[in-house]
């Protein structure tokens, strides 16, 4: 194995340059290093102005997602060794405006996430006298979708997210399904308006790449297709004369 690893980082410093450009760094190769360790080495030892997000170092916080050699990946969960021989190319996640270096703007995503109301909704005026019980089978219905860490790798993998910026997107829809499929939730109808809209599930053409890159096996593509079935059944139900709506 080499003693040095070459890391190419797509830099963007708006006060210095009008468009991003590649900068090459040589970092020492350590067998137990993740790509994030290499970035930390660059920041600590070579160029303190390098900007990127990270926090937990163990694939839980979802902050350090970047494009490594063109693939959306968690840099804290990718061994440097696994992407060698280099050069290892690190870019900000695709589909997000770049603020600086490897930092993208997540404002649009947070707006979309809020729109699908990712929290338990109960009918108003309810005065429960005890907690809402749930069986293991009921938990299994949505547990997979609750594993999402909002790392946004799925958005970076989704070509529709880049082509249709209004698309609610994989993680937000998977999280909406996490609550829709929860036996304690009563908010499915409130979420329907956003999810079944033109910018909702019908934007998705089932490329399926979101599920391929998901580090938590959430399968957002599956969540979206399942919701298409739900929305279609709901639309037909509403046509029935005895339907309440």
């Amino acid at each position: 194995m080499p003693e040095l690893a070459t890391v190419e980082v797509l830099r963007y410093r708006p006060e210095r340059e009008a468009a991003p450009s590649w900068e090459t760094f040589e970092v020492p190769f350590e067998r137990n290093w993740m790509v994030l360790d290499a970035l930390n080495y660059i920041k600590d030892e070579l160029d303190g102005s390098l900007s990127y997000r990270w926090a937990c170092r163990m694939g839980v916080c979802g902050s350090c997602g970047m494009m490594i050699n063109g693939e959306p990946t968690l840099t804290c969960a990718t061994y440097l060794e696994s992407v060698l021989p280099g050069p290892v190319r690190v870019e900000p996640l695709r589909g997000f405006p770049v603020i600086r270096d490897l930092v993208g703007d997540l404002g649009q995503f947070l707006h979309k996430l809020r729109a699908v109301k990712p929290w338990l909704i109960r009918d108003q005026g309810e005065q429960p006298d005890r907690e809402h019980l749930q069986t293991p089978e009921q938990l299994a219905d949505y547990k997979q979708y609750s594993m999402c860490i909002n790392c946004l790798l799925c958005y970076a993998a989704c070509p529709i997210n880049e082509l249709e910026p209004g698309f609610v997107g994989p993680a937000a829809i998977a999280l909406a399904q996490r609550y829709n499929l929860d036996s304690r939730d009563q908010g499915a109808r409130e979420r329907l308006e956003v999810l079944a809209s033109q910018d909702g599930v019908w934007c998705c053409t089932f490329v399926g790449e979101c599920s391929e890159v998901c580090p938590k096996n959430v399968d957002p593509a599956g969540a979206i297709q399942r919701y298409k079935v739900t929305a279609t059944v709901d639309a037909f139900r509403r046509l029935l004369p005895w339907s309440s709506r």
Binding site: E15, E17, D105, T205, G208, S211, Q225, V229
Partner: protein
């Protein structure tokens, strides 16, 4: 303060860089290409449906019309074109059926039927319907 090197930069109105989606984005990865191929081959599915309807129409018009239609089908350029159509159809069908278990969650009572069983059921239905069509067309 250091003078900015980018004259377009204004300190309190940062310019975020927005990358454009290249027109050939679907050549970036095999999986993107497979997706585009799946979508485009749906045109061939529509063609196959029209072809089947055309044959039904020819049967309805009588033996002469049907014989003429079959003679057209047997022409070498048509045969070659239809061989390509068949490949496209098979690609579309297999890639489409493989996705079915992701969209369909089938329950039997409280238990969820395993995705693999849903997949097998789709392939079985495909084979049965195809066999029925072959029988139907073979008898005419």
């Amino acid at each position: 303060m250091v003078e900015p090197l980018n004259p377009a930069h204004t300190r309190h109105h940062p310019r975020w860089h927005r990358r454009r989606m290249p027109i050939f984005w679907w050549l970036r990865k095999w999986r993107y290409f497979r997706f585009i191929a799946r979508e485009l081959t749906s045109v061939l599915v529509a063609y196959a449906v029209l072809l089947l309807l055309a044959e039904v129409l020819a049967v309805a018009r009588g033996p002469d019309a049907h014989a003429a239609f079959r003679a057209w089908l047997a022409r070498p350029p048509v045969l070659v074109a239809h061989a390509v159509v068949l490949l496209g159809l098979l690609f579309h069908t297999v890639t489409w059926l493989n996705l079915a278990p992701r969209a369909l969650v089938v329950r039997l009572g409280r238990r969820r039927i395993p995705p693999r069983a849903v997949l097998v059921a789709h392939y079985a239905a495909w084979i049965v319907v195809s066999a029925l069509l072959v029988l139907l067309i073979g008898r005419t």
